[in-house]
Amino acid sequence: MINPYLYLLISSVLFGIGVYGILSKRNMIRMLLSAEILFNSALLALVSFTSYTKNVYGYFLVFLAVGIAAAEVGVLVSLAILLYRRRGDIDVMEVDKLKG
């Protein structure tokens, strides 16, 4: 049996990596990927809490989270595609110059 705290530790480190990624990159796709890492770390924490407390509500929360994340990714990626089509570039620092 693995110490449940280890899972939370991994989750925290993963969250740190995700935050670093989201702060340091300006490419939209890379930021999206970093956000997905954040999501994975949150999911891992949620799962380890659920597994620890054996509470059935945690399950539903995880199910909902995975489902919604899938939907959200669809929208974000298609936004990125739209941006790319308009500007030929996916640098977020340039987006504020977008007009029309």
Binding site: I2, Y5, L8, V19, N40, R86
Partner: protein
């Protein structure tokens, strides 16, 4: 059937391996130059995460993660990333501050989790895995329907967004 007596604790090995895979792939997602490789390693992150879920006894969640997240979502990201041209090389920025912020947040979370969490190993697998499908259908039918509905609407939304032609 014969019993296997492994010299090495198999569960610990899997845990160490998948945790290492998780963290290394997460770093690679951020640091690799190629977008395609980054998306691929995001898939590895999802895969390792699913293994960790299964290790904690939540097999159904692990499968759901594998099907919906790794199988569909990350494949979709990879598929879309393939259609972009490779990123032009950007000149490196000063990133120590971001690194410090990330490390600080990670440390805070770890300490916070440690203080919330009374470290006492639990015994046995959670038994609620068996009742889950019935419970979902009987008590949470509306929530399930709402999730499907959200998925469907966002899918359509995404399709409409991506299909729209550039007017200018």
């Amino acid at each position: 059937m014969i019993e296997f007596n492994f010299l090495i604790p198999i569960e610990d090995t899997i845990f160490l391996f998948s945790a290492a895979l998780l963290l290394i792939s997460a770093v690679l997602v951020i640091e690799l130059r190629s977008h395609v490789y980054a998306a691929f390693f995001l898939e590895m992150v999802g895969l390792a995460n699913a293994v960790l879920f299964a290790l904690q006894g939540l097999a159904l969640i692990a499968i759901f993660q594998l099907v919906v997240y790794v199988g569909a979502t990350v494949t979709f990201i990879l598929f879309s990333v393939l259609m972009f041209k490779e990123a032009k090389p950007v000149k490196p920025r000063f990133k120590l501050l971001d690194l410090l912020i990330g490390a600080g947040i990670a440390g805070l979370l770890a300490v916070g989790a440690f203080s919330i969490y009374k470290v006492s190993p639990t015994a046995g697998k959670p038994s609620l895995d068996v009742t889950l499908p019935e419970k979902i259908v009987s008590e949470y039918g509306l929530a399930l329907f709402l999730v499907f509905f959200t998925l469907l609407t966002t899918l359509i939304e995404a399709l409409v967004l991506a299909r729209r032609e550039v007017s200018s």
